[in-house]
Amino acid sequence: MDSFQKLLEEEDNDFTMPEQTLKDIEKRVHFSTQPVRFIANTVDLFLPKAISVFVAVIGSRNFNKRVRQTTPTSHQTDPANGDF
């Protein structure tokens, strides 16, 4: 066992968290995260998918917009409208 592992062993003996403190901290962690943890984990879990969906929607909107700008509509090409 090298010095770092011996040091770890010594610290394990010196700094053990009292059982009650361990329980108290667990309770505090639980209560302080209760309102947000489900949302946070769910959003994180699906974030890449959400981003890709967002990009896909925006991308297709821009594409459609460009198509609308460069392609004459049936209204513009209708000889009945007098443009041609």
């Binding site: 090298d2 770092f4 968290m17 667990e26 302080s32 947000v36």
Partner: protein
């Protein structure tokens, strides 16, 4: 078999997956029970204050709980938790500017050592002396030496955990060892 015993048989990754799927508290409690004491010990080693270490342990587990979905299973869960712990403690120390004292400035000016200091220098050091050396060097150097030599983390894992490049970590590790050697020679020059 009790539910507690059933969860105990799961690996960390399985527990995380089940927790994310069900959001059941007993899954997280199992992870907490397994790692809280270890996280606390790392906090007290770096922060050197029981109250601060308890608060830090709470904050670290809040972070862990809220970002469990970000844990990718390429690294071990313990490695991920310890990286969060070291990062958190280093941030606290930086905010408090505890490291700003003259002796640390001297250490920062420790001369460059051309050759790599062998790991054996640290690994075979008497434990009491190692503790004094680690407590004297800046906290981020202390942390990086513990990550490498106590937690046996790879350079890649340390780099990922601290958000640095592997070459930056190698350089940081080299400088940390140089500072440790400098402190050792200063503190124990009469021996």
């Amino acid at each position: 078999m009790s539910r507690q015993a059933q969860i105990q048989q799961l690996s960390d990754s399985e527990i995380i997956r089940e927790y994310l799927r069900t959001q059941r508290q007993d899954y997280f409690s199992m992870l907490y029970r397994k790692y809280a004491d270890k996280v606390y010990r790392k906090c007290i080693t770096l922060l050197k204050d029981q109250g601060l270490a308890e608060d830090a342990t709470q904050e670290i587990f809040v972070k862990i709980m809220l970002s469990l979905a970000n844990f990718n299973e390429k690294a071990q869960f313990s490695t991920w938790i310890y990286s969060i712990t070291y990062n958190f403690c280093i941030d606290i120390i930086r905010k408090q500017k505890k490291t700003k004292n003259l002796f640390v400035d001297d250490i920062e000016r420790a001369p460059d050592v051309a050759d790599e200091i062998p790991d054996e220098f640290l690994r075979s050091m008497e434990v009491k002396r190692l503790k004094i050396v680690l407590d004297t060097i800046p906290t981020d150097d202390h942390a990086i030496l513990l990550m490498k030599y106590q937690d046996d983390m790879s350079i890649k894992d340390i780099a990922d955990g601290l958000g640095k490049t592997e070459s930056a970590i190698k350089m940081k590790l080299k400088r940390a060892k140089e500072k440790a050697q400098f402190v050792y020679k200063e503190k124990f020059k009469d021996d």
